[in-house]
């Protein structure tokens, strides 16, 4: 499965939990890509990093990026845009744009800084030109989902939340993979339906 397909699958799955049913992370990625491509002629693609929460994810996206994970991005320029997280809004999001031509983002950064009244830290120019294609740890999104569903199953079965979390970690190495495997067994023990975890 290509990187872009994995990303689209993970984003579609994440979109299912958004408040407004018309909200769609894939559509947002497409919209942003179209706007960025029109703004910078040598635009290649972007990297998204979402962090400072229980789960950190990172992935690249763009039709002009190399298809395979780990391949260096032939970027001559980059622009990072950061949306700081908070208790109300959620985790910090960083979007890094890549372009082939050196200096490609100078004007865009100046305009974005002027539009927001920020002179410095929301935008960082040319600090990520050595990036590589990644689907990062999108699998963690799927594993965390299984773990949280298993916690819900155990709570419904009579355990308190802390007991449920302890049930998933007792006697094992407490790696994400171990907890995920134990959680999957909890879900597999449910009647009628197997777990339909997202494949990222």
């Amino acid at each position: 499965m290509s990187t872009s397909t994995r990303v689209a699958t993970a984003m579609t799955w994440l979109s299912a939990g958004l408040e407004h049913p018309d909200n769609d992370l894939v559509a947002r990625l497409v919209d942003f890509t179209a706007a960025a491509e029109a703004s910078v002629s040598s635009y290649l693609g972007l990297l998204v990093w979402v962090g400072e929460s229980a789960t950190t994810i990172e992935f690249t996206w763009g039709p002009k990026l190399p298809a395979e994970t780990g391949v260096p991005i032939p970027a001559g320029a980059s622009l990072q845009i950061e949306f700081a997280g908070s208790r109300e809004s959620g985790p910090t999001v960083r979007i890094v744009l890549y372009a082939a031509r050196p200096g490609a983002f100078v004007d865009l950064m100046a305009d974005l800084s002027w539009l927001t009244g920020h002179l410095s830290n929301q935008f960082i120019l040319d600090a990520h030109v050595d990036g590589a294609v990644t689907r990062g740890n999108l699998q963690q999104v799927a594993t965390d989902s299984i773990i949280n569903q298993a916690i819900g199953v155990l709570i419904e079965g009579g355990l308190t939340p802390s007991e449920a979390e302890a049930e998933l970690t007792s006697g094992i190495a407490n790696t994400l993979a171990d907890r995920g495997a134990r959680a999957a067994r909890v879900l597999a023990g449910l009647p009628t339906h197997p777990p339909d975890e997202p494949s990222a």
Partner: protein
């Protein structure tokens, strides 16, 4: 936006101020471009920016009674309107007529043909045989539409129009060639400003939805687990039930999920107390 040759300091707006020698309307144009360059706000949303651009356009173009800005969604399988703004209600009414009712009018022509379009007598205008007379009956007789075009040397030759500025006047024959020229001078930096605002707006929209998805998903997944155990249903069926409750009760999905978890936890704690 620069012309590719003028360096600028960090934070300096890159919208060029017209440096042409004095000509009729030059002061108003410079004032409007200066206002465009001064649109600095921590929270200036796309809609507010477009409304401001429309208002400044009225100041820049002699004879204008009102103006509107249309922003198109760039790329994809066809253009569609992303946002609309107007300096006055009558402009909104005319643009609704143009885009929604008739799908005909000066902005549509300007965008499709990527050229400035002008009319001094809308009532008898052959270019728009349905739009013109209807707008004429509203008491508006002159129109000037300017496509918002990104500079091709920076943005590629095939981007097309990212939108348009529509300017209207109640009297006939208001917009001369000179007015059209001033409008074109205003439209160049306006195109880059509104498009880059759209870049920021789409980035913000992506980030906001990612933040929401990542922060609410853990509690939603736990609630899915509760429902799966209670009812023996699949993940997708459990999600559908949560969304159904959310819609019926007009309550946020995450709030419904949180309540389910709390109720299940209270039952679990009550069982512990009983034992």
């Amino acid at each position: 936006m620069t012309d590719g040759s003028r360096p600028h300091a960090a934070g300096e707006p890159v919208i060029p101020i017209a440096e042409a020698a004095d000509f009729e309307g030059a002061e108003d144009l410079r004032a409007s471009l200066g206002q465009l360059a001064g649109l600095v706000s921590d929270r200036l949303g796309l809609q507010d920016l477009l409304t401001s651009v429309a208002t400044f356009a009225v100041g820049a173009i002699p004879g204008a009674d009102g103006a509107g800005v249309t922003l198109l969604r760039v790329g994809g399988t066809g253009s569609r309107i992303e946002a609309l703004a107007a300096s006055a209600q009558f402009v909104s009414d005319i643009d609704q007529l143009q885009y929604e009712t008739l799908q005909e009018g000066p902005c549509i022509t300007a965008v499709m043909e990527r050229r400035t379009v002008r009319s001094g007598s809308l009532g008898g205008e052959k270019m728009w045989p349905r739009f013109g007379p209807r707008v004429g009956r509203l008491g508006v007789h002159s129109a000037l539409s300017l496509p918002l075009l990104l500079p091709p040397h920076q943005h590629g030759p095939d981007v097309g129009a990212v939108g348009a500025i529509n300017v209207y006047a109640r009297d006939k024959d208001v917009f001369t060639e000179h007015a059209a020229h001033l409008g074109e001078l205003f439209a160049v930096p306006a195109a880059v400003a509104v498009h880059n605002a759209q870049v920021l707006a789409t980035a913000r929209s992506l980030a906001t939805q990612l933040q929401e998805a990542m922060s609410s998903r853990p509690i939603i997944d736990q609630a899915i687990g509760v429902l799966r155990a209670r009812a023996g249903i699949s993940e997708s069926e459990a999600m559908a039930r949560l969304r159904g409750i959310s819609q019926r009760e007009h309550t946020k999905l995450a709030t419904v999920a949180s309540r389910l978890i709390q109720e299940a936890t209270q039952r679990a704690r009550a069982r512990h107390t009983d034992q």
